[in-house]
Assembly symmetry: C2
Homo-oligomer: 267 residues x 2
């Protein structure tokens, strides 16, 4: 099957440095799912400024839990969703669409790209944005499934290794938003620095300016037990996730340096 791509809408099409643009579902969903936070923006009609909240979420399919990252998926947003957002989501209608229009974005830093002149400096990064309509999940089975999906997206198997399922009060107090995705795009910068001819031919500048990439990733340190913890040893599933995750993110940051340079300019 060919790789699925999101349709290019006027609001979702990358206009600048568009050789860095990606529309593949797999690429976009991968960035969203590997980011600890998702920035959720929506227009608050009572304010001149869009509202933006950091939330925790994960792409998935309740209808087909075995779906791949590259399949059509919904975004499940967890958290003590702001009452403002929840009320909007319950009532809002936009044209034919039910739910509140949300813009969800995530950006992963892969490194600082240091070139000969400030204006050609850049970052290696992976950035994704999704556009969709959010409604609260009311079906209890889907809500439970989404809670497990989101918990295990933070630390795999954590849900199974805690007191579960949530009790009635927790099911009440916790909200899950389901976002039907309409469009999305990703922007990726990779590779080594790039400089213009003028600077490349300037011997003096070349001799005195270090150019290269400083790779970056999210590092998780030795766990700190809580004051009321009674489990002496840090569990294997947790240490495995931590150590392997650090190594994988580190490897990705260094591999990004070896990729071909996309685009001629900075971020």
């Amino acid at each position: 099957m060919p790789e699925l791509e999101y349709p290019k809408q006027p609001y979702s099409t990358v206009k600048r440095l568009n050789d860095r643009a990606r529309y593949s579902l797999e690429t976009i969903h991968g960035i969203i799912n590997s980011s600890p936070f998702i920035n959720v923006a929506f227009q608050d009609s009572t304010s001149p400024f869009p509202a933006v909240l950091p939330m925790i979420g994960q792409m998935g399919s309740f209808a087909r839990p075995s779906a791949d990252l590259g399949d059509v998926l919904d975004l499940y947003l967890h958290g003590y969703v702001s009452s403002r957002l929840m009320n909007l989501a319950r009532t809002s209608r936009d044209g034919g669409e039910t739910g509140i229009p949300l813009t969800m974005s995530a950006t992963i830093l892969d490194g600082y790209v240091l070139s000969l002149t400030p204006n050609s400096h850049s970052y290696n990064y992976r950035s994704a944005v999704l556009f969709g309509y959010a409604t609260p999940v009311v079906d209890q089975a889907e809500k439970l499934w989404a809670m497990e999906l989101v918990t295990n997206s933070v630390v795999p198997s954590r849900y199974q290794n805690t007191r579960n399922p949530p009790n009635g009060a927790e099911m009440q107090s916790t909200s899950i938003l389901k976002v039907k995705i309409k469009a999305g795009s990703a922007k990726i910068r990779s590779g080594e620095p790039h400089d213009d001819k003028g600077d490349m031919n300037d011997e003096e500048v070349r001799e005195k300016t270090w150019v290269g990439v400083v790779p970056a990733w999210t590092q998780f340190g030795e766990p700190v037990a809580g004051s009321y913890n009674r489990v002496e040893k840090v569990p294997g599933y947790l240490e495995e996730w931590r150590v392997e995750g650090n190594e994988e993110r580190r490897r990705e940051a260094y591999e990004a340096v070896k990729e071909p340079v996309k685009g001629e300019e900075g971020t």
Copy 2:
């Protein structure tokens, strides 16, 4: 002088877990300035969805470059600003205000907070949001100053250690947005996990569930020289920034665990 705080506007006031809320300029500016990316959201009148762009920026005062982090500052956003945003910024007027209304946000992850039950899981984090009106910087002296400010916010002294100042073409092609800040807030979660009485009194759950915090920070690895680099040794200013920065971010993540728990529930 007492600590300055942003006025609490309807759109800027933290409604939930508001013992985690901060309005101090110093706290908010500190989070914005130590985040590699700033998420910039604005309402695109042609789209049902807010537009969101990751940008690089820094708080500062051109009128008073020596101003402290806790003083009244402007946010300077650098980058190949989307033509959409730049055109809006040139022309937009909102009520009495000149410029386009922007919501700028940044979130720093300090650790995963693992408790007895999925619903009481949380993150240690520092999140900030600023609201203001953006206009392009046209004064050339201010634009140059802002370029240096932003470049050195990525790696201190980098501007002085590259070919500068920017040439005419670079001054033309690079845009700097200056955002006059109207309001802002921060939300901070720190400390160890927190669980409800029911789970704290459940011996079986306590005995089998590891609880604690996994501290997290952004790690910068050994620099990778570019193919056209001619400077053999990684410069001292760069290695100092890298090694000391890693250590400082690591320390902050572990210190956050020792802070008192704010709020009773998750993110």
